[in-house]
C-alpha cells in the first residue's frame, strides 16, 4: 500500500473539523428561516407551530444558558453538542458492530 492516511489521523481531522464547524463557524451561519419555516410563513401555517417541551433546555436554540456573549454562548453549545454526539453515536456503533471471530493469524 502506498502512503495512506492512518485511521487515527483521519479520525482526528474529522473531529477537529466538526468542533470548528460547530464551535466557531456556526456563529457565521445564516439567521434566516430555513426552507420549511419560510414556506410555513408564506403559506400561512407557521402559527400552528408550538414551543418544544425542551425549549427551556440550557442549550435551547444552540445558545448556552447564562452565557451572554453570543459568540461564546453559541460556540459552547455547539462544542457540547459535538461531544454528546461523539459519545452517544460512537457508543452506539461500537455496541452494534459485527464482532470478528477471534483470528490468531490476523
Amino acid at each position: 500500500m502506498t502512503s495512506r492516511t492512518s485511521n487515527r489521523r483521519i479520525f482526528a481531522v474529522a473531529l477537529i473539523v466538526s468542533l470548528l464547524v460547530a464551535g466557531v463557524a456556526s456563529y457565521y451561519a445564516s439567521a434566516h428561516p430555513d426552507g420549511l419555516e419560510y414556506v410555513a410563513e408564506q403559506t400561512g401555517f407557521l402559527d400552528s407551530a408550538e414551543d418544544s417541551a425542551a425549549s427551556d433546555s440550557p442549550l435551547a436554540d444552540y445558545q448556552t444558558e447564562g452565557v451572554d456573549d453570543a459568540r461564546i454562548s453559541g460556540g459552547l453549545a455547539g462544542v457540547i453538542g459535538v461531544v454528546v454526539m461523539l459519545v452517544l453515536s460512537s457508543g452506539l456503533f461500537w455496541a452494534v458492530r459485527r464482532r470478528e471471530p477471534a483470528d490468531t493469524d490476523a
Partner: protein, 229 residues
Amino acid sequence: MHVPDGFLDAPTSVATGVVAATAVAVALRGARRELDDRTAPLAGLVATFVFAAQMINFPVGAGTSGHLMGGALAAVLVGPWTAVLCVSVVLTVQALLMADGGITAIGTNITLIGIVTVAVGWSVFVLLRRLLPKTLAVVAPAAAVAAFVSVPVAALVFTGLFAVGGNAPVDLGAVAAAMLGWHTVIGIGEAVVTGLVVASVVAARPDLVHGAAPLIAERELVTRKVDVS
C-alpha cells in the same frame, strides 16, 4: 427542515413515530453488517459531523436558508442502515438538547430526514454507480447528485404528510410548489457539501468509504485470508 411540534396532528405524528421506530429497529440489525472494528469509529464521527454541519445554515435567497440533511452523505460513507442511525441520533440530540425540531415530531423528522433522504440518496447513488464507469472518480459526483435529489423528495414527503395531518387549513398546491422550489435550491448546497466531503474521504482513504467498496474490489485484486464461519 426540522418539523416543530404542532405542524402535524397527533395521529400523523404517532404514525410517523411508528414508521421511525420500525426503521430504527431494522437499521440496528442492518448496521451490524456494515460496521466492524474499523468502520464503527468512522460512523460515530460521521454522525458527529452531520450534527455540526446542520448548524451551518447557508442563505438560498429571499431571506431563506437551508442546511445539510446528511442522509445521502452518511449512506455513501458508512452504509444506508448505519446512515439511518446516524441521522436519527442527530435528530434526537437536537430535539432533546437544543429544542431544534419538536419532541412529538421526532418520528416525523426521523422519517423525513433520517429515512427518506437516506433511502433516496442511497438508491440514486447505487443506480449511478451501476451506470457510470467503474472507477473511484465517480463516487463523489454520484454522491453529490444523490444528495441533490434527496432534498426535494424529502420536501415532497413532508407535503404529503401535511396533506394528511396538517393542523392548518392552507392551500396544499402552494405548499407543495414552495416546498419543492426552495428545497431544490437547498439541494444544491446539499450536493456541494456532500460532494466535497465524500471526495476528501475517497482521496484519503477509499477503503473506508462504504459506497466505494465494489469499485475497489474490481480495481485491485488482493489476496486475503478470509475466515468463513
